[in-house]
């Protein structure tokens, strides 16, 4: 590794009385891939956002290539200092094409007399995709029509337009499927080869240990230590993050499917009108965890949307107990079902509303009195209960959800549904963007739901998660059902990849 590219010294960041970063000092060298690990709310994203100019620091100093560094915006960080970042939350303009999204704010370089040369812009975008091996994303269509991971790749391409020598990736891989993650890993290798650096924030600790050279661990806004990735294990990393030994396994330890014979949902020849889901049929049993996995474009996320009724569909989804055909989200809710979108910020949460409002809204009808009036006390009790049960780290229930860290947002998103009496639940990437502690908690919640005979459809981009938690795995490929595998001896990552690929 080469010279120090970025030196952060005694950096502090306060939000009112809250100290998000306390006396943080790290240095990153050229050609280094640095992981930044820590629990949700430990200050990782705050540190990254200060480095890339999204927000100012309260104190301390940053030097880039030995020179004082204080960008006032991501644009300045990119264009003047060659520091770029892909943020955790989705940041695209849905009504603009992919190309326009990549160069938005920088279109002047393609302009003459105020008119933008779109062809030159397209060529430049293609060059970036080719240069960094970003795969294929339709760039001419409106970005709003692209999948979550295609949008994430667009954001990555946008960051690369600055030709950065320091790239910050904030939980980007958790939005990506198995094959698209490889694009990021290849990019990391290229960066290393070209003596550029990456600061990567991920809650996937196996990934952190596998792909990083060094890892800085943060806890409660402070740096605990920076260690060589070769010298640590996932368990020791967990221990450093949490400050105590994490006991037991994340996942189930049994090797047999374990669910009742009673069918809860009967899905027959389910197709989405756009062809993303094509002829999927299965039964979901009482107390079963059915995982859906597949590569990018396999249709697993679209399957969740079609089941919930937010995607136009044909075929039949029947709630067996009430013989209701589930056509709309209201049908799902009426039959004691719930759905959590992968796209948490756009489809899941009311970001400007308080934690309290987000938590009680799905239960409001249930809690209403005979005349439809709601008791503020009962609502408060419910949201306070979920707030404590899910260990949501915030100043109070009155804090707007938009100001929470990614992991805490996911806790609110899950808590609002899982705090109810459910018969079945569809979870699309429930552990996306959450730390090891919350992940363990979510798996524990899933286990408890299973014990209560609640049925779960868990759509996951992480094979280990699906293998660890599911009774059966539905493997999808190009929108079609490729296999339905029972928990047992063939329940291995390699066997699944063989079907998926």
């Amino acid at each position: 590794m080469g010279d120090v590219i970025l030196q952060v010294e005694h950096l502090c960041k306060n939000f009112g009385p809250t100290q998000a970063n306390k006396d943080v000092s790290i240095s990153i060298r050229r050609g280094e891939v640095r992981g930044l690990a820590g629990e949700n709310g430990c200050g990782k994203s705050t540190l990254a956002s200060i480095i890339c100019g999204i927000q100012p620091r309260t104190g301390g100093e940053i030097r880039k290539d030995g020179e004082p560094y204080a960008p006032t915006s991501p644009l300045e960080a990119g264009s003047r200092y060659r520091v770029a970042m892909v943020v955790q939350e989705l940041g695209i303009i849905p009504s603009l094409s992919g190309v326009a999204n990549i160069f938005i704010g920088k279109t002047k370089q393609f302009s003459k007399g105020g008119f933008v040369n779109m062809r030159a812009m397209e060529r430049a975008a293609m060059d970036i995709f080719d240069r960094w091996g970003l795969g294929k994303v339709p760039l001419g269509v409106m970005a709003g029509t692209l999948s979550v991971e295609q949008r994430k790749i667009l954001e990555l391409a946008r960051a690369l337009t600055n030709d950065p020598d320091l790239l910050i990736l904030d939980e980007i891989t958790q939005a990506l499927s198995h094959d698209t993650k490889q694009v990021v890993y290849d990019l990391k290798d290229r960066f290393r080869k070209e003596n550029r650096s990456i600061l990567i924030i991920t809650h996937d600790l196996e990934e952190t240990v596998d792909i990083c050279d060094t890892v800085t661990v943060m806890r409660d806004g402070e740096v605990v230590d920076t260690v060589n990735a070769r010298d640590i294990t996932v368990d020791s990393l967990k221990q450093m993050m949490i400050g105590r030994k994490v006991e037991g396994d994340y996942y189930r330890i049994d090797h047999e499917p374990d669910f009742g014979g009673q069918v809860v949902l009967e899905v027959r020849n389910l197709c989405s009108l756009d062809g993303a889901v094509d002829g999927v049929s299965f039964d979901l049993h009482q107390g079963e965890i059915l995982a859906a996995v597949g590569l990018s474009g396999s249709g697993i996320h679209e399957l969740g949307e079609a089941l919930f009724g937010v995607r136009h569909k044909t075929g039949s989804v029947r709630h067996v107990g009430s013989t209701t055909h589930l056509a709309t989200p209201q049908d799902v809710i009426k039959t004691n079902g719930a759905y959590l979108s992968k796209n948490r910020d756009e489809d899941g949460l009311m970001l400007n509303a308080t934690i309290h409002q987000n938590l009680y809204i799905p239960s409001a009808r249930r809690l209403a009195g005979p005349l439809g009036f709601l008791s503020a006390k009962r609502l408060r009790k419910l949201s306070q209960g979920v707030f404590e049960a899910f260990d949501i780290r915030a100043q109070s229930l009155s804090q707007p959800v938009g100001r929470l860290s990614g992991g805490n947002k996911q806790k609110v998103n899950l808590g609002r549904w899982l705090g109810q009496e459910l018969e079945y639940v569809i979870l699309d990437c429930p552990t996306r963007g959450v730390d090891v502690g919350v992940k363990a908690y979510i798996y524990d919640v899933l286990r408890k739901l299973k014990e209560k005979r609640v049925s779960v459809i868990m759509i996951s981009d992480e094979l280990t998660e699906a293998l660890g938690m599911a009774d059966r795995i539905l493997v999808m490929k190009n929108g079609k059902q490729a296999a339905l595998v029972d928990r047992g001896p063939d329940f291995t990552e390699s066997a699944l990849i063989e079907v998926m690929a």
């Binding site: 915006s73 644009l75 303009i93 279109t107 008119f115 933008v116 009724g309």
Partner: protein
């Protein structure tokens, strides 16, 4: 699909009206009548896409058209005075309305309604003041070329070309769409939000000013309205914009507006041919058409539209 359905409806209505709809003369009438609404809708498109909902456009058209008429016809400044006067008034009024919303931090529809009342009142005060001297708001007799076919056609072509190029191929076009869709991302990408909104509304105001010139040149006279009476004059433009929204997957917004304006005016033409009364009967249909166009523009959206 929407376009195919509309075409099919047109052919069906042609049969219903005994072939009166699709004739050269009638098509020309529809086209001529669509030009004012297309120009207004292009203006609305630049203003509304930034996220502003300015309801003062109708009042601006009336005021701008009369000022343009006064300068061109009554003060003898000819076509340059007419066009420059209308456009300048539209720019000033639109800028005031936008600034009012941004600087005071109030919703744009509130500032729009307030400004509409003010602009209507200004025109009304002017009309009353000169009525005392036995005069009226400008009657255009000489400078009516903007209301006649060849010039109107040229204005339409130029308007379409300008709107298309600005919307799709300029920094301002891309930036205003970015600000309207996700202002946080746009700001993070270095787009100056306020500047973008001001420039976008300026572009929109130019279209509104030209629409005002065309309208007074075509009608010869535009009377003052009060109590938000001006609002209804942009409903056809609004229907056009909503319809263009439903075409957006197929056509760029400016092209969709050109087509949408013809479709909307075609529907009114059919209503006239079928003998629907031009007062309340057609206004009821206009209301229904605005709702229909709104529904079409969100055809593939499954959530609750707000």
């Amino acid at each position: 699909m929407v376009a195919a359905v509309l075409l099919a409806v047109f052919f069906l209505l042609n049969i219903v009206t005994g072939g009166a709809l699709i004739t050269a003369n009638n098509l020309r009438t529809i086209f001529v009548h669509s030009i004012f609404h297309a120009l207004t809708a292009w203006g609305l498109c630049f203003i509304f896409t930034t996220g502003l909902c300015d309801l003062s456009i109708g009042a601006i058209v009336l005021l701008a058209a009369n000022v343009g008429g006064q300068l061109g016809e009554n003060l003898g400044l000819g076509y340059p005075g007419m066009v420059i006067g209308s456009v300048a008034v539209a720019i000033i009024c639109e800028h005031l309305c936008t600034r009012c919303s941004i600087q005071l931090g109030i919703p744009s529809w509130v500032s729009g309604l307030g400004c509409a009342l003010i602009f209507e009142a200004i025109l009304s005060i002017w009309a009353n003041a000169i009525a005392g001297a036995g005069r009226q708001l400008p009657h255009i007799k000489v400078y009516r070329a903007f209301g006649k076919f060849p010039v109107m056609m040229s204005v339409w072509v130029a308007g379409l070309a300008a709107a298309y190029l600005i919307y799709n191929y300029t920094d301002i076009g891309l930036n205003l769409r970015a600000v309207g869709a996700n202002e946080n991302v746009a700001t993070a990408m270095g787009i100056k939000k306020r500047q973008t909104i001001y420039v976008a509304t300026l572009v929109g105001a130019v279209f509104v000013g030209i629409a005002a010139t065309v309208q007074i040149s075509y009608s010869g006279f535009l009377s003052a309205k009060t109590g938000l009476g001006s609002l209804s004059s942009i409903f056809k433009g609004l229907a056009t914009l909503l319809l263009a929204n439903s075409f957006e997957d197929t056509f760029s917004m400016p092209v969709g507006i050109a087509i949408g304006a013809i479709v909307v005016m075609g529907i009114f033409n059919v209503l006239t041919v079928m003998g629907v009364p031009s007062g309340t009967g057609q206004e009821m249909c206009l209301g229904a058409i605005v709702i229909l166009c709104g529904a079409l523009s969100h055809l593939h959206y499954k959530g609750v539209v707000k």
